[in-house]
């Protein structure tokens, strides 16, 4: 058992600051265990959001020494007892209290994405899809909605005013999952070009770096979506065909 010093952000939208705690840490513990120990023994009302404690639900996102991560998957063995460990809430979202933020913006964006729309099934009422044709979309389905990618995205982090006009990496992944679903027949490129604000993304890959599910957000979702938008709206041949065919 080793004693660590934790500096945990305490407060609400009206103000607050870092509060220091000395905590004994045992083998195998993760940051979330330490936060729970502080809560149970020193600061009963310390607010923290969590559920599964196994990296599957994406509830316990926070910034540890400034690095956005899931607290349940951050092993204490990564840190030295010589230096204090700082735990702060996700910076991008409005604060509720202590380590809990208001992530409702993400749920609002989700509502605006047209849902899955399949073509007709096989005569037996089921769908046939080959594994190799769904591998890509399955990668996107791994998303646990921790919103760490939304938290680090420069467009959202540095320009809160853009929140309204920008879906963010999580939802580019969601749209990519739908667009690359072999049975989906809906097109969302117009949404991407306009309301979702895909053009604001300048592919700095910060989202990919923090993804706990290791989804290749930039390379596999965002860049192919940008290419689709270009194909649909800026390719002169496609443009001409659409013009002649009378489609918008």
């Amino acid at each position: 058992m080793t004693d660590f010093t934790f500096r945990v952000w305490r407060g609400d939208e009206t103000g607050g600051g870092l509060q220091e705690y000395r905590v004994p840490v045992e083998e195998g513990m993760v940051i979330l265990d330490v936060i729970h120990r502080i809560q149970a023994t020193q600061a009963n009302d310390l607010a923290v959001r969590w559920n599964c404690k196994a990296g599957k639900c994406g509830s316990c996102s926070a910034e540890v020494n400034g690095k956005p991560r899931l607290m349940c998957m951050a092993r204490m063995s990564l840190f030295s007892a010589d230096e204090p460990i700082t735990v702060t809430p996700m910076k991008t979202f409005p604060l509720v209290r202590d380590l809990v933020t208001d992530v409702s913006y993400n749920y609002e964006v989700a509502k605006q994405i047209p849902t899955f729309k399949p073509g007709p099934p096989e005569p037996d009422g089921t769908y046939r899809m080959m594994q190799e044709d769904i591998d890509r979309a399955q990668e996107f389905h791994k998303c646990i909605e921790c919103f760490l990618c939304q938290n680090v995205c420069h467009v959202i982090r540095d320009h809160p005013d853009k929140m309204r006009a920008f879906a963010g990496p999580r939802f580019f992944v969601r749209i990519a999952a739908l667009e690359m679903h072999p049975q989906d027949i809906h097109s969302r490129t117009d949404l991407l070009r306009t309301k979702a604000g895909l053009g604001y993304c300048n592919i700095t890959k910060c989202c990919t770096e923090v993804c706990p599910e290791h989804i290749h957000i930039t390379d596999n979702a965002i860049i192919p979506l940008k290419e689709r938008v270009v194909d649909d709206y800026y390719d002169p041949v496609v443009w001409l065909i659409k013009k002649v065919a009378g489609k918008k």
């Binding site: 083998e27 023994t41 196994a54 089921t126 389905h141």
Partner: protein
């Protein structure tokens, strides 16, 4: 005093709980044209369903055309040691395939067979490879599919909102009273019908795969409202939870590891499950390692490996090996897939197990054995419901998913939970909507009752006690773990009742500091009401069943008693006291009985 002091919402139907069952119920009710609200303790999409790993059981017959609902029904009944409600098990087996295909039509992407159909995997107690899955993250796929489908259906979602009590007008349901976690403010829902889909009770035990939410809210809410509960002595300990390091003890290791070829071994490397084959399953279980290994690829000529016996059998076997001193260094046994399957296969089939062990335990499961042991996972018991409509014994109150009783009898088979959620979630939505549409009367909410509930909620702030809610919870977990665990005796169960009584006294001395805004200590103090209630209920039911069957093992009554095989232990609150009458199990019709001819 008027109700308008409180934030009040009025709906035809509200669903409490937003896991698979709650979401499916809300989707169905909304499709029936009733005004529907969905209320959940956490954020949407974080409910326990998200953690389900191995798959969803449905006799699609994609791998084995011999599979059909009768075979699935038979497996379920036998897995439940014949104590399942036969009608629920029948409906479940019949409707599960349609519900899986419906998920696919809503955008779910299950792993595929070579000819592009839904792939199915082997699991404990299932005769054929039956579980539709997505690697080992099937629950995530399911909850996200339902969630994304639901948000476009005009359902109002109340997130991070906890229901504290149900409200009644006379005998009928009239609504619910709760609080917002973020502001701590109270909220009243007026509703003609309520579907409870609140999940389980596992947070009453110390070693558990369950999250903080699993505090038995729906079980307690319905008991306090006068509904019957049933089968509460049956709590499933999943045989394979992580055991090391201590901070991750209890985290689930999917049965899919064994379904995909993993085996259990003890300290001397022996595949000990061959020593624990019960007579009940002997005819269908392999007797030799060679036969067991052939079974994975040839199910026609070989019998199932004992590593895939139902969970109650495997959990007891592991418990016995550890007790006999043949366990692993940290008090579990070994689960090995590294020597049996190649690394690429393991990483493709079990990506989150690979990730979980690598990140949390420094174990590479493609090279090393895992250490595993039993972890509290699921409660078979719950609110007593009508098999077809999911109606409870209180008019207007319905229940589906883990909170409902009957479907799984004395022990649940892996994979039958996710299918239970969508089969009975849909039925709950359908029949609660029908009830709400047909309801003609008016419902009045008793304001005095609300005032009393609000005062009760706020007491922990105002009293001058010294108890810490986290400590009381930890002591309850210790009590249930050591006295109401896998193996039970009358003496220990009675001792547990005494301790629960002491803990209840201690909760009356809990003092909460800080204010009402997102205060987890306060939430914990309020959750203790339901935790203590379900703990007492489980213990009383366990005392009443004087036999060993399924997940309920009595050291003092080690044999299965045929008389108890014809009875459910019902739990009913009468004048504030919990009673546990036995009532006859509904008898299966003759055409279904034929499926079991020749069984032990």
């Amino acid at each position: 005093m008027a109700l308008d002091k409180y934030e009040t919402h009025e709906y035809d139907m509200i669903v409490v709980g937003a896991g698979g069952a709650g979401l499916r119920a809300a989707i169905e009710a909304s499709a029936q044209g009733v005004r529907t609200a969905l209320i959940c303790k956490s954020l949407l999409g974080k409910a326990h369903t998200v953690m389900a790993e191995g798959g969803i059981a449905a006799a699609l017959g994609n791998i084995y055309p011999e599979d059909n609902w009768q075979v699935h029904f038979r497996d379920t009944m036998r897995g439940g040691k014949m104590l399942c409600n036969w009608r629920m098990a029948q409906l479940h087996a019949q409707e599960a395939p349609a519900r899986v295909l419906e998920l696919e039509a809503w955008g779910a992407l299950f792993d595929r067979t070579k000819d592009g159909r839904i792939l199915q995997r082997d699991f404990g107690g299932h005769r054929y490879a039956r579980l539709a899955h997505v690697g080992d993250r099937t629950g995530l796929e399911m909850i996200r599919t339902l969630q994304q489908h639901a948000v476009h259906k005009g359902i109002d979602v109340f997130m991070e909102c906890t229901i504290f009590r149900l409200l009644k007008d006379g005998d009928r349901i009239a609504g619910a009273f709760g609080y917002w976690r973020d502001s701590g403010r109270f909220v009243v829902f007026k509703a003609k019908a309520i579907v409870l889909a609140t999940g389980g009770i596992g947070k009453a035990w110390k070693i558990t795969s369950n999250s903080w939410e699993y505090t038995g809210d729906g079980h307690s809410l319905s008991c306090w409202a006068g509904a019957d509960l049933m089968d509460m002595e049956f709590v499933q300990f999943h045989p394979t939870g992580m055991v090391w390091p201590p901070s991750v003890r209890g985290i689930l290791v999917t049965e899919g590891v064994r379904g995909d070829g993993g085996t259990l071994t003890n300290l001397s490397g022996q595949r000990f499950m061959f020593n624990y084959i019960p007579d009940f399953f002997r005819a269908e279980t392999a007797e030799t390692v060679a036969e067991a290994d052939r079974w994975y690829t040839d199910k026609k000529n070989n019998r199932r490996t004992p590593d895939l016996l139902p969970r109650d059998e495997v959990a007891r076997a592991i418990n016995a090996e550890v007790k006999a001193g043949r366990g692993s260094p940290h008090g579990g046994v070994f689960l090995d897939i590294a020597t049996r399957r190649d690394p690429e296969y393991i990483k493709r089939r079990l990506p989150s197990m690979y990730h979980q062990f690598k990140e949390l335990a420094d174990v590479d499961i493609t090279k090393q054995s895992m250490e595993v042991g039993p972890t509290c996972h699921y409660v078979m018991g719950g609110v007593r419901v009508d098999a077809d409509t999911t109606a409870t014994t209180v008019p207007g109150l319905f229940a589906a998913g883990e909170v409902a009783a009957g479907m799984h009898g004395a022990n649940r088979l892996g994979g039958n939970s996710l299918s239970d959620l969508v089969v009975f979630g849909r039925r709950a939505g359908l029949y609660s909507a029908e009830y709400a549409k047909n309801f003609q009367g008016t419902l009045t909410i008793d304001v005095g009752q609300i005032e009393a509930m609000a005062r009760e909620c706020l007491e922990p702030f105002e009293r001058s006690g010294t108890e810490n809610p986290y400590t009381v919870h930890q002591d309850l977990q210790e009590c249930m773990q050591s006295l109401v665990g896998i193996i039970r005796t009358e003496g220990e169960l009675k001792k547990a009742l005494d301790e629960i009584g002491v803990l209840r006294e201690r909760t009356r001395r809990i003092k909460i500091g800080g204010n009402r805004e997102y205060n987890p200590a306060w939430h914990q103090a309020l959750d203790l009401h339901s935790l203590l209630t379900v703990s007492e209920i489980v213990t009383r039911a366990a005392l009443e069943r004087k036999e060993s069957r399924g997940a309920h093992t009595r050291e003092d009554y080690p044999k299965t008693d045929p008389a108890f095989g014809k009875a459910n232990v019902v739990v009913r609150q009468v004048n504030g006291e919990i009673t546990v009458p036995q009532e006859p199990l509904p008898e299966m019709p003759d055409d279904l009985k034929k499926l079991f001819e020749g069984d032990k």
